[in-house]
Amino acid sequence: MQVPAPFEYERATSVDHAIGLLERLGSTARLIAGGHSLLPMMKLRLANFDYLIDINDLHADLGYIRPGRDEIRIGALTRHRELLESAELATAFPIFAEAERVIADPVVRNRGTLGGSLCQADPSEDLSAVCTTLDASCVIRGPGGTERVVSMEEFHVGPYETAVGDAEMLVEVRLPVRPGGGSAYEKVERRAGDWAVVSAGAAVWLDGGVISDARVGLAAVGPNTTGMPEVSAALRGQEPTESLFERAGAVAAASCDPVTDQRGSADYKRHLAAELTKRALRRAAERARS
């Protein structure tokens, strides 16, 4: 059994309580949501914190999926499993369930949260790629109930680093809903439940048979789950054809920055960036058409 270093632990009773504790304890404190990223690091003693503030009791407040006319709002404590099983989400954004099916395993999905996933800011994180693809924005709450809303690009500052300050908390993720859209997710992993070698999300919006907008989000090919403006630019205003997707894949491969590691060589990952981008776009466009 791996055991973490000593720490103190408190269960937050409200969002403001949690933020108050964070404000008082500073950078030696951490929120714990599902704990599936935080606890392994602490048990391996790669990360040691003096205080853990458990926010799981806030699930009633922060665990929700609320479809609206222009956007879907998802609470930060919504668990992977809830995202996987949500019919509303599956209808609006099939990419979510597709990604969730290949994230970790049921044990992890029962506890792990959307907020924890985004705040962990692991470059291989799947939900970050999904949120980037869907052009999500993140609602960050600070002391005194102040709230600010940032884009995914602003949210991810670097690997394992986000725009969330020491005394702040991610409370909600907002996904804009636009007509004529389709989305899909592709992931290559060495084994079920493993982190991505590379994964790619794609969203395509069609207007009269032409791509009005398209977005691609890749994981594990750079310091962050990068949005790909170059790919969007290459796709916009074009007809959705196999050769276009092929070209978009090439643009994605050229715009990413993978490194060689145990999961695969940089060359292979670059190849996957192209291949998976193409596949995800193909399926997203099919869905947009139907």
Binding site: V188, R190, R191, G264
Partner: protein
Amino acid sequence: MTTVHERVDTFHDNDQKPVGYGRMLRKEDPRFVRGRGRYVDDVQLPGMLHLAILRSPVAHARIVGIDTSAAEASPGVKAVVTGAMLAELNLAWMPTLSNDVQAVLATDKVRFQGQEVAFVVAEDRYAARDALELIDVEYDILDPVVDARRALEPGAPVIRDDLEGKTDNHCFDWETGDEAATEAVFARADVVVTEDIVYPRVHPAPMETCGAVADFDAVDGRLRLWSTTQAPHAHRTLYAIVAGIPEHKIQVIAPDIGGGFGNKVPIYPGYVCAIVGSIVTGKPVKWMEDRSENLISTGFARDYIMRGEIAATRDGRILAIRTNVLADHGAFNGTAAPVKYPAGFFGVFTGSYDIEAAYCKMTAVYTNKAPGGVAYACSFRITEAVYLVERIVDCLADELGMDPAELRLKNFIQPEQFPYTTKTGWVYDSGDYEPTMRLAMEMAGYAELRREQEEKRARGELMGIGIAFFTEAVGAGPRKNMDILGLGMADGCELRVHPTGKAVVRLSVQSQGQGHETTFAQIVAEEIGIPPADIDVVHGDTDNTPFGLGTYGSRSTPVSGAAAALVARKVRDKARIIASGMLEVSVADLEWSKGAFHVTGDPGKSVTIQDIALRAHGAGDLPEGVEGGLEAQICYNPSNLTYPHGAYICVVDVDPGTAQVTVRRFIAVDDCGTRINPMIIEGQVHGGLTDGVGMALMEMIAFDEDGNCLGASMMDYLIPTALEVPDWETGFTVTPSPHHPIGAKGVGESATVGSPPAIVNAVVDALKPFGVRHADMPLTPSRVWDAMRGHAQPPI
């Protein structure tokens, strides 16, 4: 004689409760499925303390100094022990199972990342672990030797300078076969194929990590040790030698063990530390390693860099096989194998083929990596041997443009040639290979699969069919040439029938999940007719079982299984004499039918084994010269190894865009001789096949150039899940072993041995359109993609 059976997919006869062999639910499972198993970590003793080990963060360094003062002052800490302190007790080094020595705690240098440097004993696991952070070790970093190929270069850092006069990293040389004869055959062969084949370092990764609870009583000098061991008796003897505690004062208990696969054969420094910790503190001490410790420091497997060469006639007659092996043994030669076999049973690399000559030359080296060498269900290196021969035979088939099934069928040793002496001196006891191969092909629909493959290839789809045919050598072994540190590999067994006809059988072998409590009850049941439910199987406790060498190398059924059958027969012989008294006839007039003796020609006159048991213990006279009681003890020394075989066929699909491999089908036909409990056999096969998928597609303990272990967690060291494996299709043939009392051959490792080459052969077959003839494991998508582009790389 071989009998061929259709495969059995149902468990329908489960409920028939056989008196002997047959499908039967495992007797041990009720406690496991209810969470009532009792593992080492479940042992709680009054006043028990906890031990944690400080390990080297680097692969190679000189220890300049260790400051333990802060750790000693840490709350809850009872003792901090370093190598220097052990050296004073003459305990800093211990013998390995291969006549090398290994540091218990490093004194002079650390030689691999994860090596034991010091330990803390404290009131709880947390306090012990926290205090480790407070031990200050000053290291003088040395260049590591990571690549085995460079270990013998002049100027390479000398790892084992603890050994008198050692000036290089040479561990041992070994050869087998006839070099000159082999060369002569190669010289005249039509076709010679050479391939470099690497079997990378893998780890058994049992679900339960290693650990021990040591309880030394200073008053009566007794040591009780609960430990995760596959060989409690051998361990007890070694502790007596290492720790100087008299053997009769040591009790080693292996309770329920959560998987072994060879990982729990060696004695690890942690066990010795727990004993020392208990002696030093006067309290029971528990040490349980964590997952990372298990992966980075305990017995690994393989790490053979092989060059395989095969010579044949143009029409596909295999003439000779030759191989040159560079073996990486890590920092200490901790290989667990019979001492006269430093390369284990690698000598069976001639496979299942009747050839004219064979030769192997091996060089083993030290590197700055964890010690070990034989683990992970390998039957003492047969995994490597079978992988080599089955891979190289496929390369030959490719060269000849011949179907790999046809090539194998053409070269099999024929049934009338058994017992067959191979060109490396192994005497295969029995075998009839063709029916096994044909059954596998029939189950697979081989011809149809090849047709499907052809169509798919035409469409640019990548489908591969891989075959492996293996012969194993298990059941070590005859004591005249097989021992571990001087302990002969024979097994004791004891059987006692109680007055009411229930029985207890005491084994020297120990189960780590193989189902001994069921299989051995069935073996005894078959011989004396007492139902398995009425036979208690005791194992894993040196105070309560006879001496024997333990469970590994698939030896339980071949050796202890024979012992159990013979001890039961001995009891039956005595029962016959008692029965003759009870029925007032001579023993010659008695006939045995499972569970009862009856008078020949008068079946109505009979006594059951239960009647006899009562008489043996009861009032009334027994026949002249017969002592009371119904029990016996024997020690079985096998006259030869047993040689199970099998034919495996694997079908894979490879995604041409992502290079991902999917194992679509796997057909495994095993011949392990007499089948005791088919359900348990199938379980062993299913587990081993899953292991094979792991090794072939994802498992590898890798190191970076500084010698850092890159497989230190289950996130980095991948093992397969149910999602990576197909529904296994198993079948069997039965060729009994002629010398084993019940004809059983052992099956524990067959599937781990046979499946990796089948899977790799399938992947390579799928990649044929790209001109690929070989690609090394693990065949991760990235490595398969490299192979598709003609850049297949060795993994190390």
